[in-house]
Symmetry: C2
DNA sequence: CTGAAAGCGCTTACAG
DNA sequence: CTGAAAGCGCTTACAG
C-alpha cells in the first residue's frame, strides 16, 4: 500500500471523499461500496444501509469521470437537433433536464446542420469521443434513417422523437401530428368553412407530411375536398409563409380559412392579410401549429395546436435512462387544439 | 507487464486506439505522446511531427474521461442561465458551440430558477460533480454576486456576461446596454418626440437599470426630461407589458413614443394599442430591445435594439478556453438600433 | 454476500 | 528532450 495521507492537514482544502474513504470508514471493501453505488442486489440490507447513511453524512458522490473511464461510458446524454424554432428546442432541453436532474446525468447539446453532407460524421465524433450514454434525436434529424443506422452500428443508445413510429418502440416517442391536424380540420368544418386552404411545411419533413395528410384526410371524411391549388408548400419559415399567403390570398376567390403547418407561417399569413386589408378572423380564419409564444402575441391571438414539448423531453430522457432492453409499449404524446380568436364562421 | 493482446482478432470490433498504441507504433514513451497531446514545448520538433502524423492516420483522439480523471477536471463547459427568452438562450448556445466545436470541449446546459433559495447549491453540485472546466454565466444569474463568490471559493473558472463590468476583466463580457438605450433616445429625439415614456424591466436587473439610465440620461443630455409618471416598471414579460401599457395609454394625455426594455413588453404595447384603436406608428411610436424574431413578426415591424448574442457566446467560450491568467482587456459586444416601421415623427 | 488484484486511459512528480 | 513508476477514482473478472 502506498503511504497516502488520508487525513487532510489543517488548513489544507478538504479533499472530496472517494470510494476508498467510504470503504475504510464503513469497514467494508471498496467493491462493496461499488456494489451499493450500482444498486447491485448482492449486498446485505444492513450493510447497504450502513454505507448509504455514511455516504450521505460525508456528502459522498461518486466521480462520474472515474466511473465513466471504468465503464467506458460517460454519464452524459446528448441532444442532437437541427430546428429553427428556439422555443421548441429550449422546452425540449427543459424537459430532458427535468428527468436528468438528480440522476447524476447531464445534458450535452449538439445542434447541427442536417443539410451539410458530413453532419452524420460530426454526430458520430460527438457521440464516440464523449462516450455518450445515450442520444436524443429531435425532429428533423430524428427522421434521418442514415443517422439512426450510424448510431446503431456504433452501438449507442438513441431515442427518436417523430410524428409517427419509424423504429423499435424502445427507441421512439411519437407525437401524432396526424391527429393534431385532424383536430384542426374538424374545428374548421364545425365552424362551417368549406373553402379551406393549407400551407404545408417542406414535403421531405415527416411532420409536414403527417400534418398535411391528417388535415386533408379528416376534411375528406367530413365531405370536404381540398383542390390542389388550395395546398401550397412552404418552408416552415415566416418568409416562406408570406410567399405562400400571397399566392393563396391573391387568388380570384380567396379561401375562408387557412391552416398553416406551423405558427411561423401563420404569422406570415397575418402579415399578408394585414397589408391587403383582409380582416382576421372576419374575412379569414387562420390556424397554426406549435402554440409558440408568438401565437398569443399576434393580434388577434392565434388558434394553434399545442404539443407538450417539455413533457416529450421528459419522457425521452427517462427512456434513455432505463436499463437497456426494458420492454415497453410505444411512448406517445398527444397534441391538442388551443382555440383563441383567429377563427370564426365564414362571413 | 500484463500480457495484453494488442492485436484485435479478426471479426473483433476495432478497439479505438489509446495512448499506448500510439506510443508503441511511434516508438516513443507514452509520456512523450502525452506531452504532444498537451502541447508541451519539451518535445523535439521531428518527434512531434512523426507522432502527430501517426495520430492523424490512426484517427486517435485522447479519451476525455481518462484525461479528466487524471487532470481532476473534465472537458465540459457549463452554461448556467435563468432567462425566459428562448431565442436568446439558443443563440448563446450556438455561439458557445461555434468556438467549442473541434476543441474537444462540449457544452453542458444548466437552466435554473434564481428565485429558488437553493439554486446556488444546485449550481455548486453541478460544477463540482462534473468537475467542469469552466462556467458561462448568462444574465440574469451573471449579476448574482453570491453565485460568483461561491464559484470563486470552490476555485472554478467562470465568465459573466452582463450590461456593465462587475468583476475582473478576464471574467467579464460586457454588453453595454446603456449605449443601446441611449441610441434609442437619440433616435426618438431626432424624430421630434418630446413626450416620451418608458416601460422598464425589473429594477433589480442590472440590464434593466442600465437600459433605463442610458435612455433617460441621453434624453436629458438632449434637453428632454422624463417625468416620473412616464416611467413604468414591468417584469420583462408580455403580460407585464400589457399592464404597463394600459397605465401609460390610459392617461389623459398619451405619450407619443414608448421605449420598452425588451421586445416582449413592446408586444404588450402593441396589444393594448390595437385594442384601444391607437395606430402604430401614426399615433404612437414604439421601440423594443433584443431584436428577437418577434420584432419582425409584429405589425408594423418593430424597431428594436439588436445585441449579437451569438457573438457574445463565441467570445465567452473562447475566454474560458484560454490558459488561465492570460492578461487581456475587457471584452465587449456593442448593441445597435435596427430601424423598422414602428416609429415616425409625432403627429 | 464479500474481497484482493488488475485494469480503464490518461497525467503528475521524479529522474536522467 | 525523454522515460519508468505511481496514481486519478472507479469497475470488471475471478475467487471464496
Amino acid at each position: 500500500m502506498p503511504a497516502k495521507s488520508k487525513i487532510p492537514k489543517p488548513g489544507e482544502p478538504a479533499r472530496a471523499a472517494t470510494i476508498n474513504d467510504i470503504a475504510r470508514l464503513a469497514g467494508v471493501s471498496k467493491k462493496t461500496v461499488s456494489r451499493i453505488i450500482n444498486n447491485s442486489p448482492l449486498v446485505r440490507q444492513d450493510t447497504r444501509e450502513k454505507v448509504e447513511t455514511l455516504m450521505r453524512e460525508v456528502g459522498y458522490v461518486p466521480d462520474p469521470l472515474a466511473r465513466g473511464l471504468a465503464f467506458r461510458r460517460s454519464f452524459l446524454i446528448g441532444m442532437v437537433y437541427d430546428n429553427p424554432t428556439a422555443q421548441f428546442i429550449v422546452n425540449m432541453q427543459y424537459g430532458a433536464l427535468d428527468t436528468l436532474r438528480g440522476s447524476g446525468f447531464e445534458l450535452v447539446v449538439h445542434p447541427c446542420d442536417s443539410r451539410s453532407p458530413n453532419y452524420i460524421d460530426g454526430v458520430r465524433r460527438f457521440v464516440q469521443q464523449q462516450k455518450l450514454h445515450g442520444v436524443m434525436l429531435v425532429p428533423r434529424v430524428s427522421e434521418d434513417q442514415a443517422l439512426a443506422d450510424m448510431l446503431a452500428e456504433i452501438d449507442v443508445r438513441y431515442l427518436r422523437i417523430a410524428a409517427v413510429s419509424m423504429d423499435t418502440p424502445e427507441r421512439m416517442v411519437v407525437t401524432h401530428d396526424h391527429d393534431g391536424a385532424a383536430e384542426v380540420a374538424d374545428y374548421l368544418q364545425s365552424l362551417g368553412h368549406t373553402d379551406i386552404a393549407m400551407i404545408t411545411g417542406p414535403s421531405d419533413y415527416r411532420s409536414s407530411i403527417e400534418r398535411s395528410q391528417g388535415f386533408i384526410g379528416a376534411l375528406e371524411r367530413r365531405g370536404i375536398e381540398l383542390p390542389k391549388a388550395r395546398v401550397v408548400e412552404a418552408g416552415y419559415t415566416f418568409e416562406s409563409g408570406v410567399a405562400a399567403a400571397e399566392t393563396l390570398l391573391g387568388a380570384k376567390k380567396r379561401p375562408t380559412a387557412i391552416f398553416c403547418g406551423n405558427d411561423e407561417m401563420a404569422a406570415g399569413v397575418y402579415r399578408v392579410a394585414m397589408r391587403a386589408g383582409i380582416s382576421i378572423p372576419r374575412q379569414l380564419s387562420v390556424v397554426g401549429y406549435d402554440d409558440s409564444p408568438l401565437a398569443s402575441r399576434l393580434w388577434p391571438p392565434l388558434t394553434s395546436v399545442r404539443r407538450d414539448t417539455r413533457d416529450t423531453g421528459r419522457i425521452s430522457a427517462a427512456m434513455l435512462l432505463q436499463p437497456e432492453g426494458t420492454p415497453r409499449p410505444l411512448a406517445s404524446v398527444r397534441p391538442h387544439l388551443i382555440v383563441r380568436d383567429s377563427c370564426q364562421p365564414p362571413g
